[in-house]
């Protein structure tokens, strides 16, 4: 029986996108105050995490 395997790259990307959206939602609801000082590293970390996750998922056997 073939084992059902999840795509860890897409899973990580989905988690990162959801987290990003949640932070943006909290800003729009005035629960926190995003600024450029936070936005640039946040965006870079999100994109970096997505790329790493997808790249490593492709390399795993």
């Amino acid at each position: 029986m073939m084992r059902r395997r999840l795509d860890s790259g897409a899973l990580t990307a989905g988690l990162v996108v959801s987290l990003l959206g949640t932070l943006l939602l909290l800003d729009r609801l005035d629960a926190l105050d995003l600024s450029f000082g936070w936005l640039f590293p946040l965006a870079a970390a999100a994109v970096g995490a997505i790329l790493l996750a997808m790249g490593l998922a492709d390399r795993s056997p």
Partner: protein, 405 residues
């Protein structure tokens, strides 16, 4: 069955009765980036890159050495390669077995590199265009390499197809970005953020399917999230309408208590007909969501300003301050007994105050990219607005005719 040459119809030598020959060498595996153990100065990173890209490793050594001078990013790139790339003898890196650590380490390195790149002079200095150029070049290289590899040679038809797909994809993503920014600035940011979260949840759900899930969803998700982030960070709001507007009040009673504001576009406010009371400070609010505001004041008025700047600048005469996430103030102009305080609120753009018939300094306006590098004139910097703090830093009772602080 497939032979080593990859042609399923090619007969194998032994099937033709030929003498047993030396066993064929194993088929070459997919090309992998590894650190070189034979051509190394430190960790073999440049040697491995040279072999992978079929370029003289000296080129990468020079590039890495030069990049150390650009905020030290080369050090982080080299450390990342040492941590995450195994050598060609198959010795894995300490982090290879732990994907979680690898992801966390890569993210931390990316943030650290960004912090190192931020020299404090605004954006990330000359490194950003260099990185963008490098990324663009790599995309072209990867496309051409894939084209002549698994999918056959690069033909004119394929180039046209790629070009068309690239243009089409760029247009779609561009439309998503513009729509996201517009909706967020119009006050629908909660809805836009909800769409981003929904796309993330959809990716998680679809990742449970066999195969590659729905990775493509990451592109529209980021195309929607990025402009929303900019709108959120700059606090851009389109309250106040769009286009161009001109206001010429003739008496102080004509000035609305809420001041003047343009959502997106250009605002011109001509205050030269007003008679400002002597030895008093008159405060007028001027807001710009996205664009430019020009305020003309009488020559005999002592003007100073405070502003919350998301991304932009404010100038009184030749005194400019600007940047990102700034609470800024310009000192008093040296002439006049009546005092006028311009309280600015800029999402993305600029407010410029000129006296009399002076011409505005167009080189400082929107799009000039040169908002006030003179940090001595910037009173405060922080991650958020703090109007009370700014107004305390500018004493409105100080006598005009002298420069404050």
């Amino acid at each position: 069955m497939t032979t080593a040459s990859g042609d399923p119809l090619e007969p194998r030598p032994e099937s033709l009765g030929a003498a047993p020959a030396q066993p064929d060498p194993p088929p070459p595996g997919p090309r992998r980036l590894t650190r070189s153990t034979g051509d190394r100065v430190l960790g073999g990173v440049a040697g491995g890159l040279g072999r992978y890209f079929e370029i003289d490793p000296v080129v990468f050594r020079i590039a890495l050495a030069a990049s150390v001078l650009i905020g030290g990013i080369g050090i982080f790139v080299y450390l990342a390669a040492l941590l995450f790339v195994s050598d060609d003898a198959g010795r894995a890196t300490p982090f290879r077995r732990s994907r979680l650590l690898t992801i966390a380490g890569g993210s931390v390195l990316a943030v650290a590199a960004l912090i190192a790149l931020d020299s404090g002079d605004g954006f990330f200095g000359p490194a950003v265009p260099l990185l963008l150029l490098g990324g663009f070049g790599y995309v072209i290289y990867a496309a051409l390499r894939n084209g002549r590899g698994e999918r056959g040679p690069v033909t004119f038809g394929r180039l046209v197809t790629w070009f068309a797909l690239g243009i089409g994809g760029t247009l779609v993503l561009g439309a998503l970005m513009v729509g996201s920014a517009w909706a967020a600035a119009e006050g629908s940011g909660v809805l836009v953020a909800g769409v981003v979260i929904a796309l993330g949840i959809a990716m998680i759900a679809l990742s449970l399917r066999p195969g590659r899930g729905a990775r493509w969803l990451v592109l529209p998700a980021l195309a929607i999230a990025a402009p929303l982030g900019v709108v959120a960070a700059a606090d851009i709001s389109f309250d106040g309408g769009y286009g161009e507007s001109l206001h010429t009040p003739v008496a102080l009673s004509d000035v609305p208590a809420s001041g003047y504001r343009i959502g997106a576009g250009e605002l011109e406010l001509d205050l030269r007909r007003l008679d400002f009371p002597a030895e008093q400070t008159t405060a007028i609010d001027v807001g710009v969501g996205l664009g430019y505001a020009l305020v003309r004041v009488p020559e005999n008025v002592c003007v100073h300003s405070t502003a919350r700047l998301g991304a932009g600048g404010i100038g009184v005469g030749d005194r400019w301050t600007g940047g990102l996430d700034l609470d800024a103030a310009t000192p008093r102009s040296p002439a006049g007994e009546a005092a006028l305080l311009i309280r600015g609120d800029v999402g993305m753009g600029a407010i410029e105050v000129v006296a009399g018939d002076d011409e505005p300094d167009g080189s400082r306006g929107p799009g000039s990219g040169g908002f006030g590098a003179d940090r001595d004139r910037i009173r405060g910097r922080g991650f958020g607005s703090d109007r009370d703090r700014i107004e305390r830093s500018v004493d409105p009772t100080a006598a005009c005719g002298t420069r404050a602080g």
